[in-house]
Each structure stands twice: as C-alpha cells, then as structure tokens.
C-alpha cells in the first residue's frame, strides 16, 4: 500500500445507476473536465474510507464491453487497462450491476474481473429487483465471480458503508498485474454470455413472471399517433416554461448588470478603462449571462425527462423522421436544446455515437432558432408587421414569428440532407439503443446535474464572450474621431470603416444599408447585440433600459427602412452564424478549425442568398 491517495474507478453498463452511485459516494465534491484530445467528459470526486483516508474516484463513461465502439468506450478501456494519458493506474474498480438485469450486465463484469485489478461488485438497484419479486443470492454471486458483491440502492444511500468497507479490504492487497483484454468476435461473445447466463441463473433464487407495467405505459407513450401527440404536448409545455419561468430571473439579472454598469460608470473616471469595463466587459458578458435562466429551465426539463427514461422514447418517436435526412433519433435532444441556445445543444451531441451523424447535427444546430434571435425578431416584427388578425386566433405578427422558426427547422433538415450526401457522407447511421425502465428522478441527481451544466455554460461561454467582446469593443472604440468632428465615434472607429468600406458594398445588393452593415459587426458577439448596436448607430440614448431603447428604436427603423429591407433582415438572422461562442464551441467539440469554418461559410452563404431573395421578391411585389 503506497501513501498516495488510492485511485478507484466506477465502471458499468449505461442504465446501471452508476452515476447515482457516484453522486452518493462523492457528494457534491466533483470535478468535471475532459480527457485530453477527445470530447469525453471526465468526472472525478473524493470519497473517504472508514479510517478517514481520502480516495480519488472517477466515474467512467457507461460501456457495454471492453471492445470499444465509441470514443466513450475507448476511454473506459484505456483507463481500465492503465493506458489512458493523464490518468493514474487504478488501484481498484467498483463494477456496478443493475440487479434486475444480471443477464445483460454480467458479461461486462466478467471481462472487467478478468483484467486483474481488484474488483468490488455493487449489486445496484436491488430494491427495484425486490419490488419486481426477483430474489437474488449475493453470496452465491460473490462465490461464482470470485469478488465481493455488495447489494446497494444508490438513490437511497443503502449499502454504501458496506461497499466502502469491501473496497478497503481489496485495496490492502498486493500490487496487481493487468491482463490486456482480448477483442471479441461473435464466438467469444456467445461463450461469455453463456457463462454470464449460468452465473445469473445460479444467483437468482426466485424469478416471478415479468411485471409489465413499463410496457403498459409504453403502449401509450410510444403509440405511433398518441405517443407523438404527447411528445409534442411535452415540448410545448417545455418551451412555454423556458420563456415564462425565466422571464423574472432574466429581468433581475438584466437589471443587476445595468445597475452594476451604472455604478461603475459613476464611480470611475471617464476614460478608456471605464469604457472597456462598462461597455465592453459588463455589457458583453451580461448579454450572455442573461440567457442562464432559460438554459437552466431547459436543462431542468431535459434532466428530469432523461432521469425518468422518457428521452429514449422521444428518440424512438423522432428517429423515423430524422432518418429521412440522414440523422438519427439521438440527435433530437441536442437539436431541441439548441432552441434555447446552440452552445449546450452542441455540447450535448457527445451522446451521438456515430461521428458523421454527430458532425452533421453540430453543423445544423445553429439553424434552430435560439433565444438570442428573439429580441431581434421582436423589434423588427413590432416595427414593420401590423398587429392584425389573419384568421380566427391567428395574428399576423405571431404568424411571421412562426414562419421564421419553421424556416430554420426546414433549413436545418435540408442542410442535413445535403451535408449527409456531400461533406459528411457515410453509411446511414444505425440506431441501436437500450430502453431504460421508467424511474422517478432523484432530486439530488437533478440538482447536481443542473449546477454542473450551469457552471460549464458560464465557464465556456463566459471566457469566450469575455475575450471576443473585448476585441469588438476595441474595434468599435478606436481610433477616436478628432475633437470637434461631427462624425459619430462608431462610424470613425475601425469597425465603422470595415462596415462602410467592406461590409456595406457586399450587403447592399440584398437591401441592407450602411447602418445595418455597421450593426452586423458587433452582432458577431451575439445576435441580440444587433438591437443595441442599431440603437447606437441611430444615436438613441436611452441609458441601460433596453425596453425603452427598443420602443424608441422601432419607429426610427420603420421610418428609415423599407419593408423589403426589414424582411431581408429577418431572413438574414434565420441563417447567419452571428455568435462567436457557437463557433468556438464547434471548434472545441470537433477538434479542428475545418468544421467551424465550413459551418460559418455555408450559413453565411444561406443567409445572403435568402436575405437577397426575400428582398428582391418583396421589392418585386411592391412591399416598400
């Protein structure tokens, strides 16, 4: 036994309750990072042995075997065999089994035990097995496997003390030798499963006829028509909540940031530093943090739906449609998240095992209408589209907004169709998924997951937006016009010159004037910045009150722009990848500049073509 903190990994199949066990053992003391060079999350935490010694624990990605079929499983194999770069050699493993699913989970356990690292088996969710009338003999299982077997109920904290005690006992053993596990073909798989089936049967004392209540729920939730309708209803409630529940905290954050900016503005001397901190950092980072409540509500729904097991059913219901454009049902959740914000959406594509399928999903995610577009849509629609009814209960303004959402979705499907036949060409992605049983979500797991997602979002978006807004602020602030000049400082700045000389000539044919060209540059940070940028360009000084600025801006735009220009502007924002954070996250998740470059290129092209077509069609129809 060395003095170093023992290193223990939790290994097991997906749906074995492994993460709940990890949460129960380590509490909130967790660190989330990435394995070097791959987009696989590394979760580690600390537990304590009975004598108070600390223990480092890693939660390995859920895997079905040691023959890897995905980047996740490659990491699992590498850590288990001691080949993972940057990861210490394991001193022991806790192999997690779903007690109700021994047949399915024992083959992987047998493979892990054969590696030679000391193992303790956690016979998890034993309460569910008992509830279903399944009687298991843990002692017999332990004798057959040759390792300690501890019945646990992670979600109720049962069996944890016994598990740690058993772990302590195996940790005090001698240094072990690692046996490299062989790759498996059909014959070896069959033998392993047969061995597993014999052990499982021996350990099962009583097995009642299956309880079919899960299937009775599925008969409704997976019904081809009714199930689909329920899915749509759940999505409808979710989107309502994303916008309704987040309004108050978002306003509070907005006010808080405004107050902070005002306070610093008054407290600091009027110089470039004040401008950088107030107009650059606080305004820019604030523009992103304001989306946190929406993202939290969205993730709350997704985490709860995932914990209950419903998301797999949703993937099943959507897979048929998504297969038509070369995607799979697994892409449904990432695309859904992208309606709030493309950043968590793109991060969620890690669950897609097929690399081409995943890449395509990332590339089309920015076409889902994220909430940053709403302020832009709202101000243009309010200023240009009359609030009249076009049918019973259908307002023209709402209809236009709906068309904008729909254009994004149709555009995404069309883009996926084309991408899958060109740059991300490959065999049609298969879909092989295990359907988990329905379960009540555990409050602690959901809360912990929510906290972790929020932190990751703030850290990633925060740092990226911090640097990009600094750069944009500098571009928009320097050089300063000479004293007495009547040219606005923004026009005189480097960004103003780029807009007038470079951007304006390009966007003029699609109906954009010089003011729009100038607003498009700061809007690269985030789309909704276009609104405040237009406000600046039209020299509206309404302080930090966005609503007041918007009310003042609307009539000015209506007086200055033609309807054709306004419609073209809306069409532009359906497609344009005006979000540095999304581009940076894409770079991170694809590990190359090639894919974000392709994404930016094709989306700007689409934005240009569609805005142009909108402008010219509208002009031809006489909408001016």
């Amino acid at each position: 036994m060395t003095v170093a903190t023992p290193m223990v990994a939790l290994v097991g199949n997906p749906n074995s309750g492994k993460s709940s066990l990890f949460n129960a053992l380590t509490g909130a003391r967790q660190k989330i990072g990435n394995y070097p060079g791959v987009t696989v999350e590394r979760k580690s935490g600390r537990a304590v042995l009975s004598d108070g010694r600390p223990l480092e624990m890693v939660d390995l990605p859920g895997s079905y075997s040691l023959t890897p079929a995905s980047p996740d499983e490659e990491v699992t194999r590498a850590v288990v065999t001691g080949h993972q770069q940057g990861e210490r050699r394991l001193d022991a493993m806790i192999v997690v089994l779903d007690a109700s699913n021994l047949d399915q989970h024992l083959p992987f356990a047998l493979e892990l035990i054969a590696v030679g690292t000391p193992v303790v088996v956690a016979l998890n969710m034993i309460d569910m097995a008992t509830r279903d009338g399944l009687e298991l003999d843990a002692a017999r299982l332990s004798a057959d496997l040759g390792v300690p077997v501890i019945p646990t109920v992670a979600v109720r904290g049962r069996g944890l003390i016994e598990l740690i005690a058993a772990l302590e006992a195996v940790l005090d053993g001698a240094r072990h030798r690692i046996v490299e596990p062989p790759e498996h073909g059909p014959e070896a798989d069959r033998k392993l499963r047969k061995q597993a089936a014999i052990i499982a049967r021996a350990a099962t004392v009583g097995e009642p006829p299956e309880r079919r209540w899960t299937q009775r729920i599925d008969a409704v939730l997976m019904h081809p028509i009714l199930g689909f309708a329920i899915l749509l209803a759940i999505l409808f409630v979710m989107f309502q909540a994303v916008f309704a529940w987040s309004a108050t905290p978002a306003d509070a954050i907005d006010v808080g940031i405004g107050t902070l900016g005002q306070y610093l503005g008054n407290a600091m001397p009027d110089n470039w530093l004040r401008s950088m901190i107030v107009d650059g950092v606080i305004a820019g980072v604030g523009a992103v943090v304001v989306f946190l409540p929406q993202i939290l509500v969205l993730f709350l729904f997704i985490l709860v739906l995932e914990a209950t097991g419903y998301l797999t059913r949703a993937a099943f219901l959507m897979d048929g449609i998504m297969a038509k454009v070369g995607l799979s049902g697994r892409g449904f959740i990432p695309l859904l998240s992208s309606f709030a914000c493309a950043i968590p959406g793109i991060m969620a594509t890690r669950a897609i095992s097929d690399p081409k399928d995943r890449l395509t999903t990332i590339l089309i995610a920015p076409l889902m209408t994220c909430s940053a577009r709403l302020p832009v849509y709202a101000i243009i629609i309010a200023a240009f589209i009359p609030a009249r009814s076009v049918g019973p209960g259908i307002g023209l303004q709402g209809l236009v907004l709906f068309i904008l959402y729909l254009t994004g979705i149709v555009g995404a499907l069309a883009a996926a169709y084309v991408l899958r036949r060109t740059v991300t060409k490959g065999a049609s992605a298969g879909l092989i998924m295990e359907m988990p049983r329905y379960q009540w979500p555990r409050l602690q797991d959901v809360a912990l997951g929510l906290w972790q997602r929020a932190w990751i979002f703030l850290k990633r978006a925060g740092t990226i937006i911090f640097f990009s807004t600094m750069l944009l602020w500098a571009l928009l602030s320097f050089p300063k016009p000479p004293a007495g000049s009547d040219v606005s400082p923004v026009r005189y700045s480097l960004a103003g010159r780029i807009a007038d000389n470079l951007v304006a000539p390009i966007v003029e044919p699609i109906g954009f004037n010089k003011d729009i060209a100038l607003a498009l540059i700061p809007a690269m940070a985030a789309r909704e910045v276009a609104v405040s940028a237009l406000g600046t360009v039209y020299a509206i000084n309404a302080g930090d009150d966005d609503e007041q600025a918007a009310r003042a801006l609307g009539p000015k735009l209506a007086a200055d722009w033609s309807l054709a220009t306004a419609l073209a502007f809306l069409a532009w924002f359906v497609f344009a990848p005006q979000c540095i954070s999304t581009i940076a996250v894409t770079r991170r998740e694809t590990n190359s500049w090639r894919w974000p470059a392709l994404m930016v290129g094709y989306l700007f092209t689409l934005a240009y073509v569609f805005a142009g077509a909108t402008y010219w069609i509208a002009t031809a129809l006489g909408l001016s």
Binding site: Y64, S65, T67, A69, S100, N101, D103, Q104, P107, F108, H184, P186, D189, R190, R193, E210, Q215, D218, M222, P224, I225, G227, F228, T312, A315, F316, L317, M318, D319, G320, I321, A323, G329, A427, S428, G430, L431, I432, M433, E434, M435
Partner: protein, 84 residues
C-alpha cells in the same frame, strides 16, 4: 416457420433463429450481442415507428427492450415459440 424480425407485427413473439452478422458493421453486431440479441434469445416486437413511418423497431430481448432500425432487423430471422 421462420420470418424476418423486420416483417413481424407488434405483439409477435419468438426466438432468434439466426443472425446474418455480415449485413451489419462489426461494432453494430457487437452492440446487438452485448444487448442480448443472439441466437436463441426470446424476443417480442413491441412497437414500430411513429406517425406513418414503420422504422425503427422496439424489441423486447430477454428482460431488456432495445431499439433497432429496420435495416438491422432484416438480418435477424425469428422462429415461432420460446427457445428450448
């Protein structure tokens, strides 16, 4: 009486008589075996697709339920009745 899993109706039961592993990639075949879909396993077709589409399938295999695409189900032959 053998029929392909791809051609069954929801509610149909049987056991896996043969699988043409060559009709799928190595990792796909392995994943199916890991989920218990091997010769001799008892299966029941539970659901087929949504709306007007008949793909994918939800299949009960032993004590688990898995989702697979039609293309893979066309490589799996099912015999009537439970496995011996």
């Amino acid at each position: 009486m053998y029929s392909l899993l791809a051609n069954l109706r929801p509610g149909a039961r049987g056991h896996v008589a043969a699988v043409d592993w060559d009709r799928m990639s190595l990792p796909e075949g392995r994943r199916l075996r890991e989920l218990g879909l091997i010769e001799g396993a008892n299966v029941e077709l539970l659901h087929r697709g949504s709306l007007f589409l008949k793909d994918p399938l939800a299949v009960r295999v032993g004590r688990t339920t898995i989702i697979i695409r039609l293309a893979h189900a066309a490589a799996i032959s099912i015999a009537e009745g439970a496995a011996a």
